[in-house]
């Protein structure tokens, strides 16, 4: 409990700092916001237009396809909001400033992963939640489906966390973050569409091995009442497993850092 209080306070300070940096550069903030909104709208427009021409996508209606895309954005934006520090990790490793993080009594993984939320996505999250909520309400989900949905979104967020931890660990070992994180982004962007559109074996890989399906497609399907209780359990299991493995990997990387760098 005391630890929780300690870390929330540090998270708050880190976030306050990174917010005040971003808010100090208003035009840059505007550029990024415009870019993000533009990309989002262009894609929605494309999707809408595409489905109008083809009457659905892999058996899903237009509304459903758009809902998949919204859920993808929700998970994506949430993880970008919380894990923004990962993108700033590389310079710290290269310059050796990471050493100064390690000699502090705060957990180095906590600081490297959650140190400083992203102010830009702070603005995009509320409208996105409203849009997702509205699009979801069109399916008239039951309370149980809604509960499953929330549970699986949290689970998806944990898998995203696991990915980011793995990226950090890779960064320590290979000094490379920018591309690994972009690969992660590319992989998750498979989830812009329901994973059903991919043929086997790609679909299987995307669902279980690189659990994009579990991160994004499953929550959306759960709200539509298309996932069973067993499916939920398997998803949660994979979520916890991913997180566990990523912690192991991080510890391994730290040990490697301690015996390989100079």
């Amino acid at each position: 409990m005391k630890k929780l209080k300690y870390y929330s306070k540090i998270w708050w300070l880190l976030t306050r700092n990174s917010f005040s940096i971003v808010l100090g550069q208003r035009v840059a903030l505007l550029f990024f916001l415009t870019g993000k909104v533009l990309r989002f709208s262009l894609f929605i427009g494309f999707l809408y237009f595409l489905i109008q021409g083809t009457n659905g996508l892999a058996g899903y209606s237009g509304n459903q396809a758009i809902f998949f895309f919204l859920v993808f954005n929700l998970v994506d934006v949430l993880s970008q909001f919380f894990f923004r520090e990962v993108y700033r990790f590389r310079p710290k490793i290269i310059s050796g400033d990471f050493d100064l993080t390690l000699v502090k009594p705060t957990n180095a993984l906590f600081v490297s992963l959650l140190g400083g939320a992203d102010a830009i996505d702070f603005f995009t999250i509320p409208p996105l939640i409203i849009a997702t909520w509205y699009a979801g309400s069109l399916f008239h989900p039951s309370i149980l489906s809604t509960l499953y949905f929330v549970l699986l979104i949290v689970n998806g967020f944990l898998i995203a966390a696991a990915f980011h931890i793995a990226v950090l660990a890779m960064g320590i070992i290979t000094l490379e973050i920018d591309h690994t994180i972009m690969i992660y982004r590319d992989l998750t962007s498979f989830g812009r569409f329901p994973v059903d559109i991919y043929k086997q074996p790609v679909q299987g890989l995307l669902t279980y091995l690189i659990p994009v399906g579990i991160m994004i497609t499953f929550p959306a399907k759960a709200l539509m009442g298309l996932v069973s209780g067993g499916g939920i359990l398997i998803s949660m299991f994979i979520g916890v497993l991913a997180l566990f493995l990523s912690f192991r990997f991080w510890n391994y990387a730290l040990k490697k850092y301690a015996s390989a760098s100079s």
């Binding site: 300690y6 306070k9 540090i10 300070l13 880190l14 700092n17 005040s20 940096i21 100090g24 310059s95 050796g96 400033d97 050493d99 100064l100 993080t101 390690l102 000699v103 502090k104 009594p105 705060t106 040990k255 301690a258 015996s259 390989a260 760098s261 100079s262």
Partner: protein, 329 residues
């Protein structure tokens, strides 16, 4: 007296991947990288008392920084025993980390775009300082380092010297009992260097803090360190008082003489190595064991007004240490 730091037979090996030059080398290393073991520390032992200020010297790559990093828990020893304030540094327990600080010249913990005070506030939370401690410590450091007006200016607008003092403040807010300083004056101008030294001296004296300092700056060592440890190629070559370093390693002594006449001045070469000749002053260096003979010879064969025998200046000895050539390689 209690021992703050104990290091016993510390060994540290690194594995590095060798890069070969040229395109073929690059392609080759893509498929079969050549690995090489680097022996950074080969069995280092020493101990340091509480409140001591010790200078680590040696040429580049001798193992100084590796030692500091191992002591602060950043590196995992290959073998050997390390204890800092009775903790095993590698465990990096919060209680241990709250008592130490590592300051590396040219490495940053400050938030670049924000005033330094924001980093201080953050460190206050990280080290769990209460309001009283924080304010007292900050006030003291601000006064000692003369940075009162600077703490509200974004870090990127500060000069290197100013920034370094901020780094130091951030690192010392929690009043660490053990302090590892890696090249604290690197890149600073002379005035800033002096300020930094005064501060380190003060901090050591006032809080009985144990300090290990590595530096390539002669003045840092001469001003601050009473005891020095010389490392080269991962081994300790000397551990003792700074003055003894000269006695032990300077193989020569120096005769300074003032001559009355310039007759036969070329023959001075026969007595020893002439280092400086600006009549009437002459400086000759002579092997330590031949110094008495040389002095006698000089008095006998030349018209000498005045003569003194001195040790080689400590700076010369240290300079040789940095080059790594002192020990008869």
């Amino acid at each position: 007296m209690d021992r703050a730091i104990i290091v016993d037979h510390l060994v540290k090996n690194f594995e590095v991947i060798q890069k070969e030059p040229g395109l073929t080398g690059a392609v080759k290393s893509l498929f079969s990288p050549t690995k090489k073991q680097v022996h950074a520390l080969r069995g280092v032992s020493f101990s340091i008392q509480t409140g001591e200020l010790v200078g680590f010297i040696g040429p580049n790559g001798a193992g100084k920084t590796t030692t500091l990093k191992t002591l602060s828990g950043l590196l995992y020893p290959t073998s050997g025993f390390v204890s800092v304030m009775e903790y095993d540094p590698w465990e990096r327990k919060p209680e241990f980390l709250k008592q130490i600080a590592l300051v590396m010249g040219q490495k940053n913990q400050l938030w670049w775009d924000l005033p330094a005070i924001e980093t201080f506030e953050l460190n206050r939370a990280i080290y769990e300082l209460n309001t009283r401690e924080y304010e007292d410590n900050l006030k003291e450091l601000v006064e000692l380092l003369e940075i009162g007006k600077l703490i509200n200016i974004p870090v990127r607008k500060l000069s290197l010297g100013q920034r370094m003092r901020m780094e130091l403040t951030a690192a010392l807010l929690h009043k660490p009992k053990v302090l590892f300083l890696d090249e604290p004056t690197i890149g600073l101008d002379l005035v800033a260097q002096q300020k930094m030294r005064d501060f380190i001296y003060e901090y050591n004296r006032k809080y009985q803090a144990t300090i290990i300092l590595t530096s390539h700056n002669m003045d840092d060592l001469v001003d601050l360190a009473r005891r020095v440890i010389v490392v080269d190629e991962g081994k300790i070559l000397f551990d003792g008082a700074l003055e003894e370093l000269v006695e032990k390693f300077a193989k020569e002594k120096i005769i300074k003489a003032t001559l009355a006449k310039s007759d036969g001045i070329v023959d001075l070469e026969k007595i020893g190595k002439v280092r400086k000749l600006a009549f009437p002053e002459v400086v000759i260096s002579v092997p330590r064991n031949a110094i008495a003979v040389a002095a006698a010879e000089l008095l006998q064969n030349f018209a000498v007004d005045d003569l003194t025998i001195e040790e080689i200046p400590i700076e010369d000895v240290i300079r040789k240490v940095f080059k790594g050539g002192i020990f008869g390689k």
